[in-house]
Symmetry: C2
Subunit: 190 residues, 2 copies
Amino acid sequence: MEKKLIYLALVHYPVLNRHGELITSAITNLDIHDIARLARTYDLPAYYLVTPLSDQQVLARSLIDHWLEGVGGDINPDRREAMGLIRIAEDIKKVCSEIILETGRSVLVYVTTAKKCPNYVNWSGLRKKIEDQGRESILLLFGTASGFDNSVLENADGVIFPIEGNREYNHLPVRSAVAITLDRLLGDRN
Amino acid sequence: MEKKLIYLALVHYPVLNRHGELITSAITNLDIHDIARLARTYDLPAYYLVTPLSDQQVLARSLIDHWLEGVGGDINPDRREAMGLIRIAEDIKKVCSEIILETGRSVLVYVTTAKKCPNYVNWSGLRKKIEDQGRESILLLFGTASGFDNSVLENADGVIFPIEGNREYNHLPVRSAVAITLDRLLGDRN
């Protein structure tokens, strides 16, 4: 299957805690694994972990290297393949510049959120954009903790309509949101 | 939103390990939480944990009760609401008889798998069946470990076409498979 130029980033700053305060969230081993397997399933070229904290970057690197270089990947080569897609970056801007450098294309940034925003992009519209993909790469941003700080939404090219937009309960784990998002945008519809 | 009579069960026996041997897998706290939140999001009436081991049933019960009766649910009422959907059963047959008793309808059992089976049901067909839902309830079975023993597939009313059926990499976590399955069958398509 042809690789679309769609990248994914899991963002640990700037995000909010449940009181709406700006924080840097901690990386979690589980999100690293589950989202890497999803990125591999849907043929993404890379999955970025974004954190400005150097000790968290070092921790993430060691968790990943266990699978790339250690015994984990020998026992479970499928996991190695998924973990090999992960890249670590200090901020969203750095992710964008790396993608531009790699692809030679500009990048459109789309943000996922559980909150409704006034100027959202709907799913069929974004799916169509991907199918017609022209000169731009696409970067999908997912927030951890209680979601993105407003600055991220304001600086994005688009905010995607919430997965649970027409439902009363909107408390999905971010790894579930990634699964559903990739499938809505790239999944088969047979 | 009207509740469809679609139930979900996460099955820990009879499943296979990576060598193809019949085992009972252990319950995992993470699958309990993530899948409960998904069940709540997509308005399922219940989410069954299936294990024949009584010590595992007791463990599951105590993990759930922490949220239903303990301090966890006071701090996080959304989680309590999700965890309240979980029921524990000793086998698939027991799940079916409980659903029949509750709904007064017969139940059709559909199995999810990462392997292709000769007589699969495709997604649009099953989605249509749900939309036209008549006199039957539907039970979706998800296997843990390396997937179901063949006996489960043979006794089901249908085996759903694999999520990754047209892809080369089929190593999704079961909680991702649940997310994608519920969204494909019950999600909004705007």
